[in-house]
Symmetry: C2
Subunit: 196 residues, 2 copies
């Protein structure tokens, strides 16, 4: 109980969104898990919706920093190493953020608000693709990717597979997701070499 209350509330909300789901993450259980009263929630957030939006903005990781960094400095390592690192981080990123992002589809209003906030910040779920595309084009300029290759399609393929991994496999069931590092390596090799 040393953390400030605001942080404890955000922790509790984040955890409950993941465990029981957005719909069952009520003010009562959030307060209970945060170790405070329901009324205390409203001292820190004006509404439950604002609390959720804050969780989305402050607690979900970002993928773009890595992409920007690599796009600005493409040749530091081999393209395969760079792509494997991107795919690995992307797989972990989607594993964390996808369940929460997905649950917004159950609350269209909240989803709309969150999307508006993201637009204002110049971000959104398509930005990783755009960022990876930028990196790939930088590599193309550097001559390490075939000049006629479709970098946007390649970015869609790689990040799509990483995102799909987060929801195509039932974590609690009989089909655990493949380990992120092997998964990333296999995807990148396949993407680089093609299959035809």
């Amino acid at each position: 109980m040393q953390k400030p209350a605001r942080a404890r509330i955000l922790d509790a909300a984040h955890h409950l969104m993941l465990s029981v789901g957005l719909a069952r993450a009520t003010t009562k259980v959030i307060a209970k898990e945060a170790g405070c009263s329901e009324a205390a929630l409203y001292k820190h957030f004006t509404s439950k919706e604002e609390l959720f939006v804050t969780v989305l903005q402050e607690r979900l990781p970002r993928l773009t920093p890595l992409l920007d960094q690599l796009a600005g400095n493409p040749s530091a390592r081999s393209i395969e190493e760079n792509l494997v690192r991107i795919a690995h981080e992307a797989a972990l990123f989607y594993e964390q953020s996808f369940p929460i992002a997905a649950s917004l589809y159950a609350e269209t209003q909240l989803k709309t608000r969150h999307e508006a906030a993201m637009r204002e910040m110049g971000t959104g779920p398509h930005m990783p693709i755009v960022g990876l595309d930028a990196y790939l084009r930088a590599e193309q300029v550097a001559g390490r990717i075939r000049p006629e290759a479709d970098t946007y399609a390649a970015a869609s393929l790689l990040l799509g597979a990483c995102a799909q991994r987060a929801f195509a496999y039932d974590a609690a069931g009989q089909f655990p997701p493949p380990p992120a590092d092997e998964f990333a390596r296999d995807l990148v090799r396949t993407l680089l070499a093609g299959i035809g």
Copy 2:
């Protein structure tokens, strides 16, 4: 109002799950949109949850039939034609089913129940990948795919990109998704040829 009531109720529930979201698809609004009373819902379904599960099972399209058909008869057309057709159908499939499947993340209990039902039926969100993998291996045996290619990674890439398309682009916003047919063609070409 010629349709039987049961079908009207399923239509209404399906439509509302997409438009206002699972959480706001209450018995009251479903009944109103179906043109009947709330009590009538309970003449056809024992609970709201059963109604939703029925929507999921009866109203969402399937992708596996196409995959099975192609896996059994790989050489009818060129591999590129086959893959473009698969990617195109997959993009449309995910466009329809993803918003509803995603909203289950907000209701963990419902999600668990639905997953159990899918397991019993031998299906689930990873099955399209397994099915496409089977088709690709059939092509590999037929010599139209490089023998050392990783067919599972290739299947993950192609279907992942199609699934990602359904949620990475905000349909109502400034980033509309790319048209499914062009998208499919570009993905397949890139996957076949590689980028390195």
